[in-house]
């Protein structure tokens, strides 16, 4: 029996440039226990809700996360719209769906690049980020912002996408899909990636369920939870099947994300074909009075926005629960028993977004 030692992992650049600290209790090279600690970049964004009027808080809600910013703004808007009984026009719901899916593409490609980098595959990292550039260009062309879109507002959306642009976007996706298929082939079939990820950081289906894993972490372990199936925005009118893998290891979580890229492309195509003509926003009347929990599927899992209003133009309370927080207990479970050299890959496999988690 060897002596136990503790190796600190983070908070300065632990595999990804975000501050999370994990104390790894080691026995030789094997991790016996992992103790995470968080709270390095708490910004107090939720408190700002009392100082900003509810339509302006969308800008702050969006800036909770730099990667899935559109979905944050949309979930907040959904919550306020439910409190105020606003019926959002159909076209706005479809536009929200299209932008959400582009956000998902951009987030997944960013993660795939980082994952390739963590595995040690720099060439693939560059290829993934080059593909991501196409998505960012589309987002900039349609919303004006590459990363922070700022196109969602209470009651609808700020900008419309003209019909001709939508047709061109759908056509461009064909070329993009072909390019993506090459990259996906490497992630799914390349021997060096399989050797580095298969059987690493296994999370069983029961553990994933009981520890509250969400998003690709849960779907990689065989738990078929996908909030898009609840039919918010225009997802109820589109056909898709959640991607579920049963391996529970890093490879399965990677495969879920790779396959979700194609689901997203398909959803954008469907939405672009079905989008109706009409208004893109309704003017909200009065102030929110009541409370609501709004849920949406982020690229990382379930996102919850809670808002409470008292009839004034300032909301009383806002609460955000992000998917990274729910994926931390499964991460601790995955880390126990793994090799020290596998820790970066496992930590990255839950797609941690610490800036989003601590707000």
């Amino acid at each position: 029996m060897s002596k136990k030692i503790i190796v600190p992992f983070g908070p300065q650049h632990p595999v990804l440039p975000e501050p999370i600290h994990v104390d790894l209790v080691l026995e030789d090279e094997r991790v016996v226990e992992a103790i995470p600690s968080i709270g390095y970049i708490h910004r107090g964004l939720e408190t700002l809700v009392a100082k900003r009027e509810y339509p302006e808080y969308v800008y702050i809600a969006e800036r909770t996360c730099g990667i899935c910013s559109f979905i944050h703004g949309m979930t907040y808007c959904q919550a306020v719209e439910q409190v105020m009984d606003i019926e959002v026009p159909e076209r706005a719901l479809y536009l929200r769906t299209i932008w959400s899916e582009y956000s998902r593409l951009h987030s997944h490609l960013l993660w795939l690049g980082l994952f390739a980098d963590a595995v040690g595959f720099e060439n693939l990292f560059m290829a993934s980020w080059k593909a991501r550039e196409f998505v960012l260009d589309v987002l900039e062309e349609t919303t004006g912002g590459r990363v922070i879109q700022g196109s969602c507002k209470v009651g609808g959306v700020r900008r419309d996408i003209p019909g001709k642009t939508l047709e061109r976007m759908a056509r461009d996706l064909d070329v993009f899909e072909r390019e993506l298929k090459d990259i996906a082939g490497v992630f799914l079939n390349d021997e060096s990636i399989i050797g580095r990820t298969r059987g690493v950081g296994v999370l069983s289906r029961d553990d994933a369920y009981y520890l509250g894993a969400m998003g690709p972490t849960a779907r990689g372990s065989g738990v078929g939870i996908d909030l898009r199936k609840t039919g918010y925005a225009a997802y109820g009118k589109l056909q898709f099947k959640p991607v579920v893998e049963t391996g529970g290891d890093c490879y399965s979580r990677c495969a879920v994300r790779v396959k979700e890229l194609f689901t997203s492309i398909d959803l954008i195509r469907q939405a672009a074909a079905k989008i109706p003509e009409g208004e893109i926003e309704v003017k909200p009347k009065g102030n929110p009075d009541g409370e609501y929990f709004s849920r949406a599927e982020q690229p990382r899992g379930e996102l919850v926005h809670y808002v409470k209003g008292d009839g004034s133009k300032h909301l009383v309370r806002s609460r955000i629960r992000t998917p990274t927080l729910t994926n931390l207990p499964p991460l601790v479970k995955m880390l126990a028993g793994c090799e020290l050299a596998d820790v970066p890959v496992i930590v990255l496999s839950i797609d941690p977004c610490i800036g989003c988690m601590e707000r």
Binding site: R63, N123, G144, V186
Partner: protein
């Protein structure tokens, strides 16, 4: 399973031209609606202060008495909110970004040159005859 999955991408990347631009020799890529920086036309600003009220980061400050409009470029998050709220459309969103800086150059203060046009003197109420012509 395969050992040469990456070869196709690697060869194509080698043969194709670079995916990046030679900035600043080549101009940066932007679209007509890209949000770069907020600019003001001081000749049209009526100092109503709507942009200051709606700014989510309190980057804009309008002083009515001194007739100044100021913006802290490092606080501004380029959300387009002020441009949308401006009643006289004197604010515009340029596509070029503010250049990065090593020293905070302070708040950019712009003197408002708008002069309120004088109203033409009111006519004496000789319109009674006009109103009388309307059908009942």
């Amino acid at each position: 399973m395969g050992y040469f999955e990456m070869v196709k991408i690697a060869i194509l990347t080698t043969l194709r031209s670079p995916a990046t631009r030679r900035y600043p020799a080549a101009a940066a890529k932007c679209t007509p609606i890209s949000r770069g920086r907020v600019t003001i036309d001081p000749a049209r600003c009526i100092s109503c202060g709507m942009c200051m009220k709606k700014c989510p980061t309190d980057a804009i400050c309008v002083v009515k008495d001194e007739k100044t409009w100021s913006i802290d470029r490092l606080k501004c998050v380029v959300c387009n909110c002020c441009v949308e709220q401006c009643p006289v459309h004197c604010l515009t969103m340029e596509t070029g970004y503010t250049p990065s800086m090593t020293v905070h150059e302070g708040v950019e203060v712009i003197q408002i040159t708008y002069v309120k046009p004088e109203r033409p003197p009111r006519k004496e109420p000789d319109s009674k005859a006009d109103s009388g012509t309307q059908p009942e």
